[in-house]
């Protein structure tokens, strides 16, 4: 219990630091947000009125406290440019991003397991070498590049999948999936390559363990040993990596959304940054960073639950 409590406190401290950093971005930014809200033709008096109205003339720490308190109560402010509550704006777009991230995570799991097993146990040298080169290549292909390659192959040359856009997952699930395949694959590929390599190393070690020898002695088939014994033993690695990579998946999703013209929180963030809509930009930044940090914490706690060695190591 002490372990979980300590982790939780550490994460809360990190989140507090991050929220302070995100809030001070506005402080660092050139120019005055009040001039953005008041519009280009505003008189100095109007700008001053807007500044007072937005509470911008209060001291920094009291504004930060107010913002954080509101954020904790679920109020992320009102967009400067769209005039709507930021929570509504995020709510309208979060689903699209979540679909992309979840689909990418599923693809990542399947692809990395397949590639990892081949790398660790493949007996056909040519196939193993091919997979090895493909994973190295996938490692070198950031999501914004894999997106373009996939669009060119599947939308331009073969014309089997759409090059961008999206459909509602509730009204048209089949169509939504068709729109989802390429961006999810683009996002999953580089992450799957990293995971496949780690998995291969981990499985090679597992296959040396005595329980594998026991299984073999009891007459278990090679396939059973790989899929039922060695692969599940690497589950820890999966959970840890998923936690660490969740942030990169979100970051990558924002980039991929831009290329595939998906209406997720990435587009909201880009618009907010370019139009200096600080409340919206800060809210999206805070949410994504918090999600990344929390995912990491959850994965570590899950591991600690299933693997007592983790807690023992942390206690030392």
């Amino acid at each position: 219990m002490a372990y979980y409590l300590r982790r939780l406190l550490g994460v809360l401290a990190t989140l507090l630091v991050v929220s302070l950093l995100v809030f001070s971005l506005l402080q660092l930014a050139p120019g005055d947000p009040a001039t953005v809200v008041a519009g280009p033709d505003a008189t100095p008096e109007q700008i001053a009125a807007v500044r007072a109205n937005l509470g911008l003339d209060a001291p920094f720490l009291s504004r930060y406290g107010g913002w954080l308190g509101d954020a904790l109560r679920g109020d992320l402010g009102t967009s400067y440019t769209l005039g709507q509550p930021v929570t509504d704006l995020i709510g309208q777009r979060l689903g699209s991003t979540l679909q992309l991230v979840i689909a990418a995570m599923l693809l990542m799991g399947v692809l990395s397991a397949a590639a990892g097993v081949v790398l660790a146990t493949g007996r056909n040298g040519a196939v193993r070498a091919a997979v090895d080169y493909l994973t190295t290549l996938a490692l070198s292909v950031p999501p914004f590049v894999s997106s373009i390659i996939l669009i060119f192959a599947f939308a331009v040359i073969w014309q089997v999948l759409p090059s961008g856009g999206e459909a509602s997952i509730t009204a048209d699930p089949g169509g939504a999936l068709r729109f989802l395949v390429l961006p999810a694959l683009a996002l999953a590929l580089p992450n799957a390559a990293v995971l496949a390599r780690l998995l291969a190393t981990d499985m090679r070690r597992s296959l040396q363990e005595e329980y594998v020898l026991t299984a073999r002695a009891k007459g278990a088939s090679r396939r059973r040993i790989v899929w039922r014994h060695a692969l599940p033993a690497s589950l820890n690695l999966y959970i840890v990596q998923l936690g660490i990579n969740f942030g990169n998946l979100i970051g990558g999703a924002l980039v991929v959304e831009a290329i595939f013209a998906r209406a997720g929180i990435g587009g909201l963030l880009v618009d907010a940054v370019t139009t200096r809509d600080y409340p919206t930009a800060q809210a999206v930044l805070l949410l994504t960073v918090a999600a990344a940090i929390l995912a990491q914490m959850v994965s570590e706690m899950v591991i600690a639950r299933v693997d007592p060695r983790v807690k023992a190591r942390a206690a030392r």
């Binding site: 050139p30 880009v270 990344a292």
Partner: protein, 286 residues
């Protein structure tokens, strides 16, 4: 002819002449080095051979390759080849400014653990925070605070890669300070400064070289990601990422527009990755 002809391998205890050169003996490593050098040469020398500037409108919009424009022209009539070559330059500048700063700053921060445990703990917390923030989000935050552009990208690359250098330096110091030879050096009265420079620093540098190659790949990825979102390099300056963003709407009619910068990114990052793998393996082998 007095040399003994029977020994083919050097004695095991003799340190290899240069580990970094030795790392480059594998086929993968040479391929990686070739790719990187090729891209650097193209980026540095290529623009000198061109008749158009990257921001010069030198033809009509979106013409097909040929007629003085080997890769055609973009949507406002600029030479695509010129923009790609200058785009490579932009990425090289970002990489070559950001990665050395990150390496030196990160390593220095990692080494403060030698001075005080409290300071070291504080620095590690800072690294935790930096590593907890996804790199693209970090870049967007900086674009918001400092305005999008090369400067914001450089700061993002520094902040994103600095913790890895710091952690590496920190663990290299810790792993060496516990060794018996260091204890022995302390016992015979070797000054602390000399122990650090003679025994600890070489180990720190070993890890730095491989990490630098990884960080260069990260730099290209961050520039590309931010520019594709429209929060990176500011138009009309070209970069690899902004070329991909500008070219992607024309994949159907002018595929070379986006595919050439895409190919450059793949080759460049592949080169860095292969080099990093080889250097890592060489450092581990010693």
């Amino acid at each position: 002819m007095t040399a003994p002809a029977t020994t083919t391998a050097p004695p095991l205890d003799r340190p290899p002449r240069n580990r970094y050169l030795q790392a480059l003996t594998t086929a993968k490593a040479r391929f990686g080095l070739t790719l990187v050098l090729l891209m650097v040469a193209i980026g540095v020398l290529g623009p000198l051979l061109l008749s158009y500037g990257p921001e010069q409108q030198s033809g009509s919009a979106l013409t097909a390759p040929g007629g003085g424009h080997p890769l055609g022209t973009d949507e406002v009539g600029r030479d695509i080849l010129a923009r790609v070559l200058h785009g490579i330059r932009t990425d090289l500048v970002i990489t070559l400014v950001a990665v050395p700063i990150a390496a030196v700053l990160g390593t220095a921060l990692g080494l403060v653990g030698v001075l005080s445990r409290l300071l070291a703990a504080a620095v590690q917390r800072l690294f935790d925070v930096l590593l907890g923030v996804p790199v693209i989000i970090l870049g967007v935050g900086l674009a918001l605070a400092a305005g999008a552009g090369v400067r914001a990208i450089i700061v993002a690359v520094v902040l994103a890669t600095l913790p890895t250098f710091g952690r590496q330096a920190h663990s290299a110091v810790n792993s060496q300070l516990g060794r018996e030879y260091v204890t022995a050096a302390v016992v015979i009265g070797t000054p602390r400064r000399k122990i650090l420079s003679r025994h600890v620093l070489p180990n720190v540098v070993d890890g730095m070289v491989a990490l630098a190659a990884v960080s260069m790949a990260t730099a290209v990825t961050i520039e590309g990601g931010l520019s594709v979102m429209g929060l990176g390099v500011v138009p009309p300056q070209p970069s690899l990422g902004s070329m991909i963003r500008d070219g992607s709407p024309y994949l159907f009619d002018q595929p070379q527009y986006a595919l050439v910068p895409v190919t450059v990114v793949v080759l460049l990052v592949l080169g860095y990755t292969l080099l990093a793998d080889a250097l890592n393996a060489a450092v581990l082998r010693k």
